[in-house]
């Protein structure tokens, strides 16, 4: 019985430990990605004056409706996630 409890406790502890480790690794990797990939793209975008989001109204615009033209497409289109 004691061996069974030890095994259960050990496996729970192992899972908890691996979860904590994955949180730390995720944090480190994502921080690197953010301050390299996102930072560099953001810098290039700012230099080239590329806007990814429309953050301010354009008073001179007559409408904010944009063309969508979403209609039935070829079958293979629906198997894609994009």
């Amino acid at each position: 019985m004691k061996w069974k409890y030890f095994k259960e406790g050990f496996s729970e502890g192992k899972e908890l430990f691996s979860n904590k480790i994955s949180i730390i690794i995720n944090f480190l990797l994502l921080t690197i990605v953010y301050f390299t990939g996102v930072f560099l793209t953001s810098i290039f975008a700012k230099i080239s004056k590329k806007k990814f989001l429309d953050l301010m109204p354009q008073k001179e615009a007559s409408t904010y409706w944009e063309d969508l033209n979403l209609d039935k497409k070829e079958e293979k289109y629906y198997f894609k996630q994009f």
Binding site: L30, F35, S42, L53, T63, D67, N69, L70, E75
Partner: protein, 586 residues
């Protein structure tokens, strides 16, 4: 042919199953896991759908998902690039779920369902539009889909005809009426993607006069609204594109104060702000709908997206926009898109003619009398058995008339966020203290929130100032109408502060016992109206199983539970005997 639709990983995960174009089952995952607005993969809802038809995943011909995850991910990346470095915290907290779940949806579906076929991905607003148009009674209708955000789109309109849908125009993130409403919901101290309806309920306490409500003018000053209903926000007042906290400091300054703390006092200023956001929403929606009506030249309208849950505005649409008929499905929010994904595959992609109209919401789990009896006997619960519906109706009506609060558990669980007589708490609307009693005994909810009335459809025009032909969405409690003034004092418990009521109309072919119960109560009280509120306590999902219903009754002050053909009296059963902890894993 079986097609499964799935929506998950944002909020309100759900699944729906259609058989040869007919919707046979649909349910939200939260009802099974008992976790409100559960976002997880809806394995329980899917299992229910499959089990109801007696099939396995091998029998599924197609599976549809409610959005295109990579497009959504693209938008998320664009947000981070645009707002670098302010988005760092959100990037760190949200990215793991993208890599572990959202971008691996095909693997997850195949693994969890042991499904070997392909998965089809339908754009978010197309899934919304399909979920509202394809099961509607209209051959042709204008479609307007408005929610927080899908992949990029926050608002889209188009037209549906027979089994085709075309969406012409869109408004893109970050400008979004849904997110504006959510930002103000957060500002007022309520939870986002959950409590927007509380803001709607609070709004009549504020100043609904556009000329006198200063916050309406302030909110309009940060929105550029064009005559065609298109709009764009000044995003310096919002933070939702880079933070989990929605209102910015600038918005707080604009609204003369900081974010309200949860459970703190609601002041007149808060009420005026709630009124202001409701007025802004109504103004944008009205302009937009007038434009859609003009462009589509169609008198029928289907509304989709979370904003279509704004029942206060829905009740004003036909009077103000030129549309003559309206239809909204019982769950127009994200949960409802699983129906759209499945029906879009059947009707549009596979080019099958439409053969289904969604005329009732009882699509969830249903329990037979023998299953209920087994549950009661196994748990030694005392009950009274009735051998006919007529007798149970008479007894229940008398109990309600005597000011008892009853839980009604009949038929299949409702699809959508509203309880519609299958998992409802019913009580007497003529008792001026009933709102207080319900709050004290069961619901423990904010005092400003009204309770809803239910009435048989043919009686509705007598008591309410409805549209001349009562629209079907009223059956799903999606329209608010004024109560005729002479009845305000007769049904005080369901009359909101502005004299309105979020009524549910019921037709006998939808739910015979429920309909007869309202009529029977009408014979006793001379008022054929009941209070209908959802069978749950604050913070929990609506009950699903007999276990949930009994547990809810024993844990609250509900006096009787009318379950199948059995009536259970709370006072007859010892609360000590029902150890909810012991049964928690059932």
């Amino acid at each position: 042919m079986y097609i499964l639709g799935i929506s998950c990983f944002y909020h309100d995960s759900a699944a729906a199953l259609i058989k040869d174009g007919v919707l046979v089952s649909a349910a939200q995952e939260e009802r099974f896991t008992r976790k409100k607005h559960d976002t997880s993969f809806p394995i329980n809802a899917i299992n229910y759908c499959l089990q109801k038809e007696g099939i396995t995943s091998n029998d599924l011909d197609h599976v549809g998902f409610y959005e295109k995850p990579f497009l959504k991910f693209e938008r998320i990346l664009h947000q981070h690039i645009e707002t670098f470095p302010k988005s760092y915290k959100v990037f760190i907290s949200n990215m793991p779920s993208w890599f572990n779940e959202k971008l691996r949806i095909i693997k997850i579906i195949k693994k969890k369902l042991k499904y070997k076929g392909n998965v089809r991905f339908i754009e978010h607003h197309m899934a919304h539009s399909a979920s509202s148009f394809l099961p509607s009674p209209f051959k042709k209708a204008a479609i307007l889909s408005v929610d927080g955000v899908g992949e990029w789109t926050t608002t889209a309109y188009g037209i549906g005809e027979n089994n085709s849908i075309k969406l012409f125009k869109e408004i893109k993130f970050p400008s979004s009426i849904g997110l504006l409403y959510s930002a103000i919901t957060a500002y007022l101290g309520f939870s986002v993607n959950n409590s927007e309806y509380k803001v709607m309920g609070l709004s009549p306490y504020g100043n609904m006069d556009k000329n006198k409500n200063e916050y309406y003018k302030k909110l309009m000053s940060i929105i550029d609204l064009k005559d065609d209903g298109s709009y764009r926000f000044d995003m310096s007042y919002f933070t939702y594109h880079y933070k989990n906290r929605m209102p910015s400091k600038k918005l707080c300054a604009l609204l003369n104060g900081d974010i309200r703390r949860k459970e703190s006092e609601i002041t007149q200023r808060h009420q005026d702000i709630a009124a202001a956001v409701q007025l802004v929403t109504e103004e944008i929606m009205t302009k937009m709908l007038k434009h859609v009506h003009k462009v589509t030249k169609c008198d029928n309208l289907v509304l989709a997206g979370g904003v279509a849950l704004n029942s206060v505005y829905n009740g004003k649409i036909l009077k103000n926009t030129g549309f003559k008929k309206i239809w909204i499905q019982p769950d127009p929010g994200d949960g409802g898109t699983c129906i759209g994904a499945a029906m879009y595959i059947y009707n549009v992609i596979l080019n099958n003619q439409r053969n289904f109209v969604l005329d009732n919401a009882y699509l969830g789990p249903e329990y037979t009398d023998s299953q209920i009896k087994n549950f009661l006997d196994e748990n030694k619960i005392k009950y009274e058995e009735f051998n006919s519906d007529k007798k149970i109706v008479q007894k229940s009506a008398k109990l309600i008339y005597d000011n008892n609060v009853i839980g009604l558990f009949q038929k299949g669980m409702e699809w959508g966020p509203r309880a519609l007589g299958a998992r409802s708490i019913l009580s007497n609307p003529c008792n001026p203290k009933m709102q207080e009693i319900l709050n004290l005994k069961v619901k423990h909810r904010e005092k400003f929130r009204p309770f809803a009335p239910v009435i048989c459809v043919e009686d509705a025009n007598k008591y309410f100032e409805c549209d001349s032909s009562i629209p079907e969405p009223t059956d799903f409690m999606l329209m608010v109408y004024p109560i005729k003034e002479k009845y305000h004092k007769l049904i005080p418990a369901v009359t909101h502060v502005d004299g309105s009521g979020r009524l549910q109309t019921i037709r006998r072919n939808q739910n015979q016992l429920y309909y007869d119960l309202i009529k029977e109560f009408g014979k006793l009280s001379k008022i054929p109206i009941l209070i209908n509120t959802s069978f749950n306590i604050r913070g929990e999902p609506i009950v699903c199983t007999p276990f949930d219903a009994y547990k809810c009754m024993m844990g609250t002050g509900i006096d009787y539970l009318v379950m199948g053909r059995y009536i259970i009296k709370r006072a007859d059963n010892s609360q000590d005997f029902w150890d909810s902890e012991k049964y928690a894993k059932d």
